[in-house]
């Protein structure tokens, strides 16, 4: 750990960064997001398997605007989020100092291309328990699935914690806040809840980097990740595009091709 702290401290002292986003130990032993502005705060900096929060979500917060040089300690989900954000024009190459820790060593990424290579080499296998759960839901009849999701989603209190935790939910004005027209019913009841979660999942289809933050953030323990995961699997198997692995846009749901075999738009 001293290596990480030493390095970060050097970045401060040499003026490369004026803010470092990392983790410190929380009350329950969890990695808690921490914002370091001075090297002497760094003694609290940690990085271990409990540091699961996706820190990329903070990068677009207005509070960070006063810092010009930001460093970030990225876990794997954060790295993928950074790539996806770059593909969507939200961050630029070289804008941040990006570090990670792998096999006890501190890695500094020279550019997004380096992250792309790192991600490509370390893509995890999908969690088998998750897959089994998905399979189980898929094997249900239409009616059973409808019942399953209306039951799960009926508990939603529309706190929008899922949206706040998601590094890719960065719209300045979310469509649920639009009332002319009113796309999604506001009261946290049946249809409105269903609308919100379907819209959310569709907006993340082909973009979700599967960090699991939405589900972790949900106070009602709704298995939200299943929706986006299922959509992603469909996209990967049909188009072969894995979100959060490319720094250039490669979005399955929005590519017009002159030689498209469907000619509805020509």
């Amino acid at each position: 750990m001293s290596d990480l702290i030493n390095k970060t401290s050097q970045f401060f002292s040499s003026g490369i960064i004026d803010l470092f986003i990392g983790y410190k130990k929380g009350r329950l032993g969890e990695g808690k997001p921490a914002f370091f502005t001075k090297p002497d705060q760094l003694s609290e900096l940690i990085f271990d398997e409990n540091c699961i929060v996706n820190l990329a979500v903070y990068l677009r917060k207005p509070e960070l605007k006063k810092y010009s040089k930001i460093g970030i300690l990225a876990n794997f989900g954060t790295l993928r989020a950074l790539l996806q954000l770059a593909a969507e024009n939200q961050i630029t190459d070289g804008q941040y100092l990006i570090l990670t820790v792998a096999d006890g060593k501190v890695l500094e990424f020279a550019n997004l291309k380096a992250i792309e290579e790192y991600v490509a080499n370390n893509l995890p296998k999908p969690n088998p328990e998750r897959l089994a759960l998905l399979k189980e839901i898929e094997s249900k009849s239409r009616e059973e699935r409808w019942d399953f999701w209306t039951r799960e989603l009926s508990s939603c209190i529309r706190c929008y914690a899922c949206r706040a935790a998601c590094p890719l939910c960065y719209c300045e004005q979310c469509l649920v806040e639009c009332n002319q027209p009113q796309w999604v019913g506001v009261p946290p009841t049946g249809l409105g809840n269903l609308e919100w979660h379907i819209v959310r999942a569709m907006h993340l289809a082909g973009r979700c980097i599967s960090c699991g933050e939405c589900e972790a953030a949900c106070p009602m323990e709704i298995p939200l990740g299943l929706l986006t995961q299922k959509l992603n699997m469909t996209i990967i198997s049909n188009f072969g595009q894995i979100p959060g692995t490319k720094r250039e846009p490669d979005y399955a749901l929005s590519t017009f091709k002159v030689d498209d075999k469907e000619n509805f738009i020509r």
């Binding site: 969507e88 024009n89 939200q90 960065y170 719209c171 300045e172 004005q173 979310c174 469509l175 639009c178 002319q180 027209p181 796309w183 907006h203 846009p249 979005y251 749901l253 929005s254 590519t255 017009f256 002159v258 738009i265 020509r266």
Partner: protein
């Protein structure tokens, strides 16, 4: 408060036979916001339009719903009437009672009910309509003509003579195209070069025409009135400003055995060459694929002998960017080549040739100086068999269409042969003679009656060679399908006219559509035959479909008229039904960019007054956007909308359908 007028049309009996129009008008009068409602037999007629105009003024209407036919049919009519009454035309909407209701249902109460619902939906929409104003786009008054054959030449001269600038791009070293290769032309038998070459010179000397030969189109961006075109000027390796065209380099070039494209492979040329003596420009280029200097790094003979020091081996391809307002595609056609007819031995027997090769053999400027000599041994043929429809009208070979020009040129070929050899035997195998055109059928009759060309109705099955003769096996279907075997010295196949091999690529660069055979598609086969579906891009000649010279020239002049009409205005007016971006909510993810089929989405930087960047957002180019709405559907934050079909308007329509109330006891 909205003040909507509803005008229900009977369309004669088209609507009123199944819909109770008076009832629809009565129901509509109860809709919230509707202050006036009436039905009439022909709303599109003058008195019908006056009903609308008077109501707008008398009832101070803020919106108009005309319940009649398809908006494709009469939306412009009713919007014009609305505008004449002083209301913004885009506050007028149409409910399609004819195609969507009366034509597809029987006369029942529910049919009238559906008609009333269609009106109600539009009433709800029009309440959210906004005043819109046509978009003005400036026009660059320069035309680009792609292709320097007779079609391109005619279009270029007509446009240039109207006082506009023209840029002509030709991929070969000389303009002239296929017509320059022809010997004589039907139906007058006048010499092709004699009528073409003066026009080629006129193009080269015209002050309004800039000519790029040995050049290709690299890319095309922009839109009508405002195209940005990049031209690739291929390296000629010869400085045409310095070159005097003396020809010494060609004479001294040691590589002389390259099959000559201009002579359809029947002659040879050098590695540095001018395609033909009357070429424009009449200055050579180096064919780098065959030049020893470029292949092996040595030789340099042409450079040594050039008195003007015009040879520049180091020359590179040059990319030239030009702005043009209109584009004329006049890239011509090709003919089907070898190995297409194994049963005819095409490609195997030297004396089985195609029509273009015959033209070169018959041409005074050709490899035999106009004496018909067969390619295998130079013997003058005594018997020639001409085969029409060689590949055309042949679905088995992938070409179901008629190549149109072959009947005429085959008659001409047979005639030219008979004129050169009175005792020779000319036989034509044909399926039908298609000689529609001024003096065309007379021309074919002349070949048969005066020049004694033997026309046999039937398709040849195979050709084989025996003792130096070609044996042509066919039948005479007019004589009980009697087998016919003809010994010929030479066989001329009227091979199918096909699209150029690179036409698909060019069509994609131009964003124009093409048919299954890669000919470019016109916007409408009857009423818009010279335009493409992409505004500002027009067609001339055989790039659209096989055409003869008169048709090509006529179309080229028609195209020129379209271009000149476009250039007669300073600005272009377009309907404002295009997408627009809400800068406040756009987060600049640009996923909309890749979905736009018209490449209309650009980036716009929003800056503070001091110049610091606030954010980058999407911007719709109003010239390119076609209002398809794909970006609107894709945008997550609903930051893109489309004028005339805003989310609010559509939502109002859909909500109206779901929130049905009883307005009258239907």
């Amino acid at each position: 408060m909205a003040r909507i007028g509803v005008f229900v049309c009977h369309c004669g009996e088209n609507i009123s036979s199944t819909v109770d129009c008076a009832k629809v008008a009565e129901i509509a009068s109860n809709y919230p916001g509707v202050v006036y409602s009436i039905d009439y037999k022909y709303m599109c007629s003058d008195p019908g339009q006056n009903l609308i105009k008077e109501a707008i003024q008398k009832h101070k209407l803020t919106g108009v719903v005309v319940a009649a036919c398809s908006p494709r049919m009469h939306e412009p009519t009713f919007r014009k009437a609305t505008a004449e009454a002083g209301l913004n035309p885009f506050l007028c909407e149409m409910a399609n009672l004819r195609e969507h209701c009366s034509w597809v249902h029987f006369r029942e109460d529910s049919t009238t009910e559906k008609a009333a619902e269609l009106v109600r939906v539009l009433v709800e929409k029009v309440k959210h309509n906004e005043e819109l104003f046509p978009i003005k786009v400036p026009i660059t008054k320069t035309a680009l003509v792609i292709g320097g054959g007779i079609g391109g030449i005619q279009a270029a001269l007509d446009i240039a003579n109207s006082g506009h600038k023209v840029i002509m791009v030709e991929k070969n070293p000389s303009i002239g195209g296929k017509m320059a290769q022809l010997s004589e032309t039907f139906p007058t038998l006048d010499c092709s070069q004699c009528i073409l070459t003066p026009r080629m010179v006129e193009v080269a000397q015209h002050p309004n025409i800039t000519l790029y030969t040995y050049a290709e189109i690299e890319s095309v961006d922009g839109f009508i009135g405002n195209f940005k075109v990049t031209i690739r000027q291929k390296a000629k390796s010869v400085d045409h400003k310095a070159c005097t065209g003396c020809g010494l380099c060609i004479e001294k070039c040691p590589i002389k055995k390259i099959p000559d494209e201009f002579n359809a492979g029947l002659g040879n040329r050098a590695a540095i060459y001018v395609p033909f003596p009357q070429a424009v420009p009449n200055k050579p280029v180096i064919d780098r694929n065959n030049c020893t200097y470029f292949l092996k790094g040595k030789c340099g003979l042409c450079k040594k002998v050039c008195p003007a020091d015009a040879i520049h081996y180091e020359q590179e391809d040059e990319l030239i960017k030009v702005d043009v307002g209109a584009i004329v595609a006049a890239t011509g056609f090709d003919i089907k080549h070898s190995d297409f007819f194994p049963e005819y031995g095409y490609g195997k027997y030297a004396d089985v040739i195609d029509g273009l090769q015959f033209e070169r053999l018959a041409s005074a400027s050709g490899p035999t100086l106009g004496v018909l000599k067969r390619p295998s041994d130079g013997k003058e043929p005594e018997s020639i068999v001409f085969i029409a429809c060689a590949g055309s009208r042949d679905p088995a070979k992938g070409i179901p269409y008629c190549s149109k020009i072959c009947c005429m040129y085959t008659a001409k070929h047979a005639m030219l042969f008979k004129h050169k050899n009175h005792h020779g035997k000319a036989t034509v195998f044909y399926m039908d003679i298609r000689a529609g055109g001024k003096m065309y059928d007379e021309f074919v009759r002349r070949a048969i009656e005066e020049d004694d060309v033997n026309y046999i109705r039937g398709r040849v099955s195979r050709i084989y060679e025996k003792n130096g003769k070609l044996i042509v096996c066919g039948v005479d279907t007019l004589l009980n399908s009697r087998p016919v075997e003809i010994e010929a010295d030479m066989v001329v196949l009227a091979t199918a006219a096909i699209a150029n091999s690179d036409s698909e690529e060019l069509a994609q660069k131009l964003h124009i559509s093409y048919d299954p055979y890669h000919f470019f598609s016109e916007a409408h086969p009857k009423l818009r035959p010279v335009e493409t579906n992409t505004a500002g891009i027009m067609l001339a000649g055989a790039c659209q479909a096989p055409k003869d010279i008169p048709d090509t020239v006529s179309q080229a002049s028609g195209t020129a008229a379209k271009v000149v009409a476009l250039f007669s205005q300073d600005e272009l007016t377009r309907e404002p039904l295009i997408a627009y971006v809400n800068n406040n909510t756009c987060v600049g993810c640009f996923l909309c960019q890749s979905v736009c089929p018209y490449l209309a989405i650009e980036k716009e930087e929003i800056r503070r007054r001091d110049g610091t960047l606030v954010k980058t957002v999407a911007k719709i180019n109003p010239g390119l956007c076609q209002g398809c709405g794909t970006c609107v559907a894709l945008c997550r934050s609903k930051s893109i909308d489309i004028h005339g079909y805003t989310n609010r308007q559509i939502y109002a329509e859909v909500s109206a359908l779901f929130n049905r109330r009883e307005y009258a006891g239907v």
